[in-house]
Symmetry: C2
Amino acid sequence: MEQPSRLAGTVRPGGRTARVRAAVLDATQDILVEHGFHGLTMDQVAARAGVGKTTVYRRWGSTPRLVADLMKELANQSSPHADTGDVECDLLANAVSVWEAVTDGRLGATLQAVIAAATCDEEAADALRTFFARRIEEWATVVDLAVKRGELPEGTDGGELIRAISAPLYYRLVVTREPVTRWDAERSVSRTLAAARAGAFVP
Amino acid sequence: MEQPSRLAGTVRPGGRTARVRAAVLDATQDILVEHGFHGLTMDQVAARAGVGKTTVYRRWGSTPRLVADLMKELANQSSPHADTGDVECDLLANAVSVWEAVTDGRLGATLQAVIAAATCDEEAADALRTFFARRIEEWATVVDLAVKRGELPEGTDGGELIRAISAPLYYRLVVTREPVTRWDAERSVSRTLAAARAGAFVP
DNA sequence: CGGTTAACGGGACCCCTATCCCGTTAGTGG
DNA sequence: CCACTAACGGGATAGGGGTCCCGTTAACCG
């Protein structure tokens, strides 16, 4: 149930271990797409990945921790954003990437699974917090640059602005469960930008 | 597993049935507060409510449907909002009521449970959609009144404005899992209002 | 290339949860 | 007040997910 102790003996991160990890994480994502988080069992993951059930339990312990590990893996594949020199373009790129992530079957299913897992597992919640903290921080830089260029008021809080852009999209996805369209992404950008230009993001 | 057929024979909504329903829903909420949705089992609900396990299965069938029913019950207790004659006041009241709902142990636990249940059960998802659709519609009226008074631009979309106010709060609660404060509620109002005054909510 | 041992795999076991059967209780209508 | 039956309750059963034990495999190191 615990991650195996790394204190006694030597670690072996070599070939087989890495192969097993990849197979298990892949199988997990497949099952999430097909059955969602509620339909994810250690049993199925093991069978699908072609590994022993015991192995999955030993290394991950539970489905929430499995999903948390998957999220950490995806967090590392974070694609760097473009900096076009125009805030509206940059922020639209951000909103659209959120929309795509949420719409895309594979990534969307994983995101929703982590959100579900986070409600019952602190490790999954941490993975989620870390993931978004990093994403927000990355995108906040384009706001800072826009402030330097004079496109937005001095002192505009970049992190809060980025949050404000994706919030309506996730709100529709998870809370009100309304369809999320590209149109929603575009409107969120223009609305948030209107508030920002009016100085609403300056504390 | 199905709701018992109401076609053959007579329905008996009288004393005992209503008492059982109330006891079960109460027990459900208690368990949600203590253990969350993942720790909710039909067994515990039955035991806690002091009713037969069979009864709970017969009338609700699963925990997501139990939670969905609880949500419908709470939706009917929807408290009407005040209309102070000042948009900012009204919207602040809205944001604060969301903040309180999310912060309050009992209601907050239930809300998060329904959100979790909605990811794996269509009935729970429906309950959620219905609940929010109604709430949004109710509060949208204060926006319409403000437009009539000339406080906001003609054509402002009330529903979207209300969504925009609560979105950041739920976003923090469910997605980024950051703490939600009254300060967040206040900022959300002022930012959304700034965008609205700039005409960002006029299609 | 061969010994050492971390890591994996198969299968038996166990507990918890869902389901079923049937006897009992108590609303309902006359 | 009585017959009727919808709805409830207890207990026995079964199925599936999780745990454990121990033999096997293959990475690491000299």
